[in-house]
Structures are given as structure tokens and as C-alpha cells.
């Protein structure tokens, strides 16, 4: 048999396979060059970038929880300019699409970061992280309010000609409502889910483990919630979806595709196994071979309910 066709495209971004690396879990890419072939994966998503460099939160920033981990990195990043100068040149030499994850501390910043990236060669698309508190609106999170999310998406859209993925927060009553709002505002694709807000307590010290008190839960523990949300959104919204949450192996990834995702992102798994993204793409392909499936895209949304 021929090798199965593993390629997919999300909002015009063509990928050799559906496995992308999730923002914040793959550094700026180069960190992993020793552990996997960067040209074996579908796409790389950068650490979340903001207009100015950001220091992030005090420590401790991470803690393990049952089947998962909490992080409160606080979006530490080098800032968009340093990324363009110091990180992008390396990535340009890698034949794999680079997608820049971005966020703003204010609505305007979202627009500015997007504008800064527009027209830059070597950036295949942008992923807008809307899970940030809107300082001006009293800390309400852009990603949990449909109106605020739409404002962000519209503004970014105005400032970019690149494919725009909007990354949804799971900390909402109705993820479909958020998805529709972002679709209406011009998103080209949706990725989900970002982390669930959680907390860990150090009983002996009677304190939160994380300096930031709460953090974002990721890893296998959240996979059922992520699958459910992908499935719900897939039935309600026409946009291509990228499934994220607790994907540890090829089977997990294929489940997300059955639920309706066109591609997937691998996050926490890269911490346990720095070559996880490559391995997972390989496992997916092997599954297709074993089951005599010609093309991975035939599985998208193929769940029978």
C-alpha cells in the first residue's frame, strides 16, 4: 500500500500532517531541534507574544496535579520585536509553517501586534489568544465574553492579511456561543481548548502552590472536556477547528479529528517527551496504515453519533 496522505490545510495553511505544537509548550521552536525533526511536524506555534517583552509571574509557576499540571507562567515572552529579530530568522530556515500566537494587554495591543506581523515572510498565520483579562473592562477576560471577543477578533482582522486562528477558552458556559461570535467577527479557524482555570494548595504551608494562586490546567486530565467542546463547536460552526487538550498519542489526536478537528495541537505531552509531536504524527500515520485508510482528512468529523 501507498503511504497514507497525512496532509491537511487549515485556513489556507498547508501542513504535511495535522500535528502542530501548542503555544507556550514548544518555546520558540529551536529549543526542540535536538529532540525531533522540526520538518516532521505539521506546524509550529510560537510562545504567546505581546507588544512589549513580558516578565511573567513570580514563582512557583507550575505544579503537577492528578493527570495534569497547572501553569501560571504569566505569558512571559520576549516581545514581538525580539521575536522577529532573534527567533524568526532561525525558523525561516525550517520548512514547516510557523504560526505566531499573540495576545494583548489591551484591545489596542492586539491590533498592534497583529499589524507588526502582517506582511512578514516566514509567518504562515497567527493564532489569537483571547484568554487574557481585559484590564480596561475591570479584568473581564476577552475570551469569556462574546462581545469583547468579537472586538478583538475584528480589530485583529483589520490589521492582518494572514490566516487568523482564534484560540478559545474553555472557561465558559457556552463554548458554541463564543465560537459563533468569533466566526462572525472574521476568524478563519478556531483552536480549542486553552487551559481550564484551576488551583492547587500546599496543605503544610497553608498557601496556594502557585505564586499566582490560580493557574491553567492542561494535560490528559482535560482531554474529555476538550473533546466535548470540539465536538460541540464542530456541529455548530463551519470553520476549520484545531483540537487541543491532553493529546498524548496518535489515538488521542485521531479522536479529536473524529470529533471534528482538522488538525491538533500537542502541548503538555512535549514536556514528557520532547519528540512527542513527531511521534504522534507517526502514530497517526501508522494507525491509518493498519486500518487501510488512505487519507487522514477522511477522518475529520467522521464520528457517528
Amino acid at each position: 500500500m501507498q503511504r497514507p496522505d497525512m496532509s491537511v490545510a487549515v485556513a489556507g495553511i498547508k501542513m504535511r500532517n495535522p500535528v502542530m505544537t501548542a503555544s507556550g509548550t514548544f518555546g520558540y521552536g529551536a529549543e526542540f531541534a535536538d529532540y525531533l525533526d522540526l520538518e516532521s511536524i505539521g506546524a509550529m506555534i510560537s510562545k504567546g507574544l505581546s507588544l512589549k517583552p513580558k516578565a511573567g509571574n513570580p514563582t512557583p509557576r507550575i505544579v503537577e496535579t492528578p493527570g495534569g499540571m497547572l501553569n501560571a507562567i504569566g505569558l512571559q515572552n520576549v516581545g514581538i520585536d525580539a521575536f522577529i529579530e532573534q527567533k524568526l530568522p532561525y525558523l525561516k530556515n525550517v520548512n514547516t509553517p510557523v504560526i505566531v500566537n499573540l495576545y494583548g494587554n489591551t484591545l489596542e495591543e492586539y491590533g498592534e501586534v497583529a499589524a507588526r506581523l502582517d506582511g512578514l515572510s516566514g509567518v504562515a498565520g497567527i493564532e489569537v489568544n483571547i484568554s487574557c483579562p481585559n484590564v480596561k473592562q475591570g479584568g473581564i477576560v476577552f475570551g469569556t465574553d462574546p462581545g469583547a471577543a468579537q472586538e478583538v477578533v475584528r480589530l485583529v482582522k483589520k490589521n492582518t492579511s494572514k490566516p487568523m486562528i482564534v484560540k478559545l477558552s474553555p472557561n465558559v458556559t457556552d463554548v458554541v456561543l463564543m465560537a459563533k461570535a468569533c466566526a462572525d467577527a472574521g476568524a478563519d479557524a478556531l483552536s480549542l481548548i486553552n487551559t481550564l482555570t484551576g488551583m492547587a494548595i500546599d496543605l503544610e504551608r497553608r498557601r496556594p502552590v502557585l505564586a499566582n494562586v490560580t493557574g491553567g490546567l492542561s494535560g490528559p486530565a482535560i482531554k474529555p472536556v476538550a473533546l466535548r467542546m470540539v465536538w460541540q463547536v464542530a456541529r455548530a460552526v463551519k470553520l476549520p477547528l484545531i483540537g487541543i487538550g491532553g493529546i498524548m498519542n496518535g489515538r488521542d489526536a485521531l479522536e479529536f479529528m473524529l470529533a471534528g478537528a482538522t488538525a491538533v495541537q500537542v502541548g503538555t505531552a512535549s514536556f514528557l517527551d520532547p519528540s512527542a509531536a513527531q511521534r504522534i504524527a507517526g502514530e497517526m500515520e501508522q494507525y491509518l496504515v493498519d486500518h487501510k485508510i488512505d487519507s487522514v482528512s477522511s477522518l475529520i468529523g467522521a464520528l457517528e453519533v
Partner: protein, 262 residues
Amino acid sequence: MSNVELSPNYFRMRMTAPQELLASAPGQFLMLKVTDAIDPLLRRPFGLFDVGTFTAEYAGCGAQTYCEILYKVVGKGTKLLSALHHGDVVDLLAPLGRGFDLGPAGEEKVLVGGGVGLAPLYYLAKALVERGEKVRLFAGGRNRDDILCITEFERLGVETYVATDDGTLGESGFVTQVLERHLSKGMRIFACGPTPMLDAVAKMSARHEVPCQVSMEAYMACGVGACLGCVMKGANHTEATPDYRCVCKDGPVFDSFDLQWS
């Protein structure tokens, strides 16, 4: 692999390893996936206690690189680790991080270890002794059960000084007090142990104008500088001009001047 209990809750584990580990530097570390299952989920970091090669005769099937760690059982990961035995396989990621800078020849090298902080110092001592350096070890712990492998250091020709909080082995008191009596210019300190001890050593080294490297610990997820979970404040860190360093990538060994102390 082999896995022996050296004293209550302290184990020494030897495992076969990829040959590249022979090129590792003392002070570098590895990360172990303790189980295939998701509990515990994250890898656990351990300093390289030793790296070496079994001869083809000994290994029975071609020369074989091995590495060793020395660890204390403190939680579920190390508990599971302590139950492993001959024939078990454990997944390791190594070498990671920046090791010790051995410094110029001729200086006297002073190693300071608190409890299981001794672990990376043995590999370091071997490297230093190989270069023909004079090496002293100051080892501290709460009680005698915390003082490990002193004989191994002495076999290398290292002069050893021991202190325990309760006086059950060596001098009674903090190892830093013993250290202070012997410290003089022209020495170079390499320290690993609990943060309060490192804090004391860092300050002492500053007072005595002795260069000092410390090996730090932090919660880690990735071990490769990607998650930014393990950061520590650099010397010039302020709220306004933050300066965070990755323990896993920029460390775990730092010049004590490069970090912010209490």
C-alpha cells in the same frame, strides 16, 4: 539497572544510558519518566552522580555507558523509583542544563553539599581529581543518615569534612560553619543543597571574595527551556526590569553572583 538503598530513604540507581552521556559535564542533570502511566505525569529531575562505561567483558555485550543518580524519597515519584529493580527500564532525558565551570587549574576546589545535594558533587570531584586538582568536600545533613558516599569521595583522594545538625556524624552544627573556618582566597566553591544553605554559602563566598557556583533546584516541567516554569530571579531582577533565568537551561549551575539571594 541496579537500585540500592544507601541509608533510610536514600537510593543510588545505576542505569544504562546512551553513549552521548560520556560527553556530559558535572552539574548537568537528567529527567526521568518514572512510569508510563500518567501518575506522576511529569518527569523528575536528578543530578548526574556518575557517568561511566562498563567494559565489554563486564557488560557481556560490547562496552556500555551507564549513569548513576543518588536520590532521596520525598514524594510519589521517588517512591515509585525506589521500587524499581534489576530488569526494569526507565526512560531518561539527558544530559540537560549547564554544568559546573571547573575553573582554572591550581586553585583549591571546595565542594559543599547538603544532604542529597552531594549527588552532582561526586561526578564533579572525579573530574577535578582527574585534572590533578586538590579537592575538599564539606558535607552536611540533619543527621548521619543524610551523609552519603563519603567513602567514595575519600577513595578519590578528596579531603572530607562532615557536619550534622544533631552531631550524630562529624561536627555538630551547620556545614557552613565548618566551611567558614577553612575558607580562604584562591579557593573556588561548588555548592549544591537546600536553598537556605546555598544562600549562606553564596553570602559567605561574597564576604571571602571566593568565586562560587551553586546548583539550584526548581519545579520543572520540560527541562529544556521551553515552558518557563522553572525560572529564578537573576541578580538584577526588579519588578520593573525583570530578569528571570531558567534553572533547566541557564542552570542548574549558576555563578552565585548571577542570582538574587534573600
